[in-house]
Symmetry: D2
């Protein structure tokens, strides 16, 4: 059994990790930590765990955890992981960071977008960007995984094959993304107060959201050159789910089947990627509670553009599920272990 610890277990990502790991046949959760709830029983905070997982939240002690555990999941606000992690800890334990601190290769880009110092830039090179389908080989031997953001997972998986195969005008990309409110986390804020976001819809952080450089970084690698794109997030009045509508101008006269062939080349063998039939488009309800990334697309011949629709559950494939998928890869387990639930509907 893999001995796992979750740091920051009382946020929604930490809680989803706990939910998945409690049910994972090869994992034992040996430590959970919380700054705000130290000393409290977990099922007192999240009653869904009553009778199923009643461990107490502890104060965080990374050194102790590093010695006793096989893997540590960090589910922390950005800026904290880069302070806490060190080569010393990584010598002793595998770490999957679900925050943003090790996602951007370039320290300066991180500091510019996140407006904070990066405290362990020496670890950046070692970190593997954990988009499981695209970095599987690197993940196998990684000691530190930078688990991708929710919007970024959905956006990159939507466009990666097209850029890798050089099928579109690189600076024509527009990603119009929409997320349920759980993506904003559990911290109280007037913008996520029930009556402030229920029955309303808005765009936010227009042309300035922090997932932008992360998407650009990975798509630039795919394209082999620097890409600038527009990424516009919106808030949907619902709990879970991300849908990204991506637009780009196709390089040449490509047919639906040409594009389908390219997606199949990259995704046909990927269990967690489901390509919709022609004329069918993903909806967030069909992936809820699961690690699937669903994708569909069409070509608008009138304008020469492709429109790609991608969907994930932001807390699963967009966070905790992909982290577990990465853990499975790191420990040479079946990649689907603990992640094989049928999406729940209606829910």
């Amino acid at each position: 059994m893999i001995k796992a610890g979750i740091v920051g277990v009382t946020g929604y990502i930490g809680e989803e990790l706990a939910r998945i790991l409690v049910q994972h046949p090869e994992v034992e959760i040996k430590a959970i930590t919380s700054k705000s709830y130290a000393g409290q029983s977990y099922s007192n905070i999240y009653s869904n765990f009553s009778g199923l997982f009643d461990a107490a939240c502890e104060e965080e002690n990374l050194e102790k955890m590093a010695k006793e555990l096989d893997i540590i999941f960090l589910a922390l606000p950005h800026g904290l992981a880069s302070k806490k992690l060190s080569k010393d800890i990584l010598d002793k334990v595998k770490v999957i960071d679900l925050g943003a601190d090790y996602r951007l290769c370039c320290k300066e880009t991180y500091e510019q977008w996140y407006q904070t110092d990066h405290c362990s830039p020496d670890l950046l090179e070692q970190a593997v960007y954990g988009l499981s389908e695209l970095k599987r080989e690197d993940i196998k031997n990684a000691q530190l995984i930078a688990n991708p953001g929710c919007y970024t997972t959905c956006s990159i998986l939507s466009l990666y094959p097209l850029l890798k195969e050089d099928l579109m005008c690189k600076n024509s990309i527009i990603i119009d993304a929409k997320s349920g409110v759980s993506g904003a986390g559990r911290s109280l804020n007037v913008s996520t107060h029930y009556t402030e976001c229920n029955e309303s819809f808005k765009a936010y952080k227009i042309a300035s959201h922090r997932h932008t450089p992360e998407i650009e970084q990975e798509l630039s690698i795919a394209a082999g050159e620097d890409i600038s794109l527009i990424f516009t997030p919106h808030l949907i009045p619902m709990n879970r789910g991300i849908l990204a509508t991506s637009y780009a101008t196709l390089n040449e006269n490509l047919s639906y089947n040409d594009i389908l062939g390219v997606y199949n080349k990259y995704y046909a063998d990927e269990y967690f990627v489901r390509i919709a039939k022609e004329g069918v488009y993903p909806e967030t309800r069909w992936v809820k509670g699961s690690n699937f990334f669903d994708i569909g697309f069409t070509i608008d011949e009138r304008t020469g553009r492709i429109i790609v629709i991608g969907c994930i559950d932001n807390l699963v494939k967009g966070a905790a599920g992909q982290a577990v998928q990465n853990m499975n890869i790191m420990f040479a387990l079946d990649e689907k272990l603990g992640l094989s639930q049928v999406p729940i509907f209606p829910a």
Copy 2:
């Protein structure tokens, strides 16, 4: 492997059954039938099943199914099962009926409340009312299970121990129940059109809901005498979950701990029943996607009444989950098999 069939697989209860059974380690779904969707692939109807379960819906043929299967689940509108079932079929196959046709012992009561003839009253005696926690011994050897209704499961489990132990005034019971919209099924109706029920709340079928005689029947058995009660259902603008607030006058001066002792006597060993700590009350979110029945209560000393709060996921413990729990009992499997998921939150 148990060979199972689902008749009426495209309603929400049928779909939840499919979801649970696809993931059940001892079951193979060998046949699914649908009147409206015969010939169509299941994942075309419910895309959450894409890549996971792609069987085609068939026309129903109960005789054939009876010969080839170990168990048939009927997820049909009331009135149909009583037409389709016969001793002949039941000689060959176990049946769990998730509709109302075999829940009421008395043919006349059924015909009065459901305003239709009962076409196989000879089977009524054979049918076991499948409230798993209360009828486990009978279920073990049953060939025909009448799976309880959603409201009734929640209501009966809330009050059964108190009546069985004769702790309350028998004609003082009021059950004020509230359900999410999935309880109304998938058939189109203006009252479940999105914009008609979203952002609104109402009571419906006041003093006339068909689950009333079912609750009264089972609580009368517990009490050893005929009980009349008030049952008022309400519609909550959300997908899943039932919460029942029950009121009754206590017979004598009983303390919280006296009552807790009684609930523990009946439920302490029941995996799927979770009794909340004093001062804590169940909420529907904590049971979502699971087979749990959560219960909490308080005594209002000012009025001498007990207030009991019970919660279930209407599609799981209120329908498909309890059906699978009953199947597990019937086939001498671990009662939790296929039903051990942690409730999903936020979802």
Copy 3:
């Protein structure tokens, strides 16, 4: 024009007051105050007011307001009004307090349920309980109105005529009430964080909610003797609306028409009370955005009880709308002025 001020204009009740008064043909809002937002333009806080009402929030100065205004609306958390008000202020200006401080006649009851001192008990006798339909004559000459709570308005209007006419067993009353989330206000709290209450339903403050003594006080006056009842509030995942399902044992063998006659006696001439036809029950959607109280009822002959359904918009008839109705009465205006909007649906 009536010169009005709103103290606590940035809570939801203050904002609804502003919305109604901006549209009121006989009122000019001369001052708005806010502790948290002093100095900010109102339409910066609530963009629905952009271009319509752009006054700046001021620091509160009750003495100054008393001198310059005709009426002050206090929309404050409980405990503050009783500190701020004085005979001196009330000599100069009419006050409608939308909080709880002057609703209970008895200082001790207030201090027991609200767990705080009452700082101006000398004003209690002067305060008129502002349930417009029941206290119209007193309101006309009042200088200080204690505007009723949302749950209480709905509950009292549901049962008052039956108690006044001595038609039911006085200690048999159970009020099972349900409210949308706006009733909890705009203060941040984990229980009203979007993802914590969306898609869930719960009871709260069971047998202990502060509206209980207020309902009991007014219904006891109606009954002519002390009444104890059960009041159970629940939280509905929607923005606006209260529905109260009330149960009581009828004293004698009364018919539907007997009861209807009694309701008509009290409400037939009341513009803001709408009695549903037999077999029809109020739903919160039908009163949204309006000052109506809708009521319907049935008699359950099997148990000898009446079931009454009452509905209001908690921010309008349950707060700001009734306050304006009271103001209209106090200033001898048409009681409907500014309150004649058709309920908005679907919304």
Copy 4:
């Protein structure tokens, strides 16, 4: 008083028209018609109107209505108005058609996108496209108004000034639009069944929505040349509101203030257009229940594109409200009459 009739009064647009007109000081609703509900009292269908408007729905008789009324509003599915209207009727009465039949100047375009014959192409030239802010002069003297679609109103108002002033690359336009469910109307359909769209988000009619040619027609007129654009509608799980996120490449190096100047040129005097401050973006909640179009924008200097956010209430400015605005213009009334309500929040 203007004598008005509403044909198709039981759909959501008809109902919103009734709500606005009941409150309009210069209008009397003299006739309402419904195919499905003829003979029924309106407040039996929509209980929000109880006590306020209890007329009976009639069978439609356009000739009779034309003789007796001053204006007829048609709120019908597409294809019906073109069958019912004639020069003869239009000689007698003003007509505002809220459907699609007279929006497209070109009969062939209509027949291609709507897949039905146009039965009165001779009336097309006479019809004025009723986007009030842009066609005010034509509307004044119109006898037949083609009231714009909801998505189109929001899209055209978002981009018209930029195209009119030739500020952007004409074939770079992408409109990613999102609508609440009331836009889909009241007809039953599995896609608008509560549990099918609640807690989910999807794109639909991708590259094929019928509002596309309507947007292109009006923006082509503004641009002075034919424009092809991408229009992608999405369904938001909420009742009301449309938000359109539009993207286009700016022609030259334009600053925020340059663009603001252009919007001000067209909209500064428009009561129903509210331009947000820099850094602020419209949200659907701020226009709910009102006739406002809110707009905000930013320039993404990294990609040379402008991002424009526009918001309306789809049933008001997107349908019934704009129809009443057009009626006010046609009858030389204050354009705001009956439309001056502050948007309702939270609702």
